[in-house]
Symmetry: C2
Subunit: 138 residues, 2 copies
């Protein structure tokens, strides 16, 4: 299991704060939602309705790889193309996404309903999908 | 139930994104953790180990009141002193905090263990505590 080294970057020893040091922003969980849904390429994530700015997308993907939350792998050689899949550490963020989405559904009007599998899924289901997607692509 | 009006501020109709439009930053959930734990005054939150900058704390408290996630009320007249308590909408964020803290505990080393009640609590327990704290103070 990849654990972060204790670091001056963490604001306190509170595990909530430590998590937010990594995922506490407007974009990270949106990117992870996309990867969970089967969008594994830069262009697929960029095409999502949130219109993520490219500099933010590049920066977040790099940081998520560094943190061991996603993995980057080449799925095509010429031209070289990369895809991103979740690690166990990334898949274990599913309950955070689920609870935040439940709250959004309850309190923000005019939201769409997520696909059926989303609220029922467990991290291991998401991880299994990632591996299937990766085999299909390679 | 207070629901946000549909707004250009929301990046998409995804309920996760809509939630992150309100709580997707490094500080908001840390402040709500403090209020859940019984820190209801500006100075108490400011004294937390994360050392939140005062301009961010003022800004977030104001936004959280505007969003109906916390309520501000005077608990003393001379000099005038305010306290903040969670609404139902705010207490319903507890599962997001719990899941993010669980993930932090699993993946970030050297974190403290939250107090016993934290992982067991339900939003209604948190809401009950808020009301008790408020009666005690007034």
């Amino acid at each position: 299991m990849k654990r972060d080294k204790p670091s001056a970057a963490h604001r306190s020893r509170c595990p909530l704060t430590a998590a937010l040091d990594l995922i506490g922003d407007k974009w990270t969980l949106v990117i992870l939602r996309d990867v969970m849904e089967g969008k594994h390429r830069y262009g697929e994530i960029q095409a999502s309705p949130e219109n993520i700015p490219t500099n933010i997308l590049s920066n977040r993907l790099r940081r998520l790889v560094e943190e061991g939350i996603i993995e980057k792998h080449a799925y095509q050689e010429r031209p070289l193309r990369h895809a991103y899949t979740l690690t166990q550490k990334g898949a274990d963020l599913l309950p955070v996404l689920q609870q935040a989405a439940r709250w959004g559904q309850k309190y923000v009007s005019n939201c769409d309903t997520p696909p059926d599998w989303f609220f029922r899924a467990k991290p291991k289901d998401v991880l299994g999908r990632q591996q299937t997607d990766r085999r299909r692509r390679s």
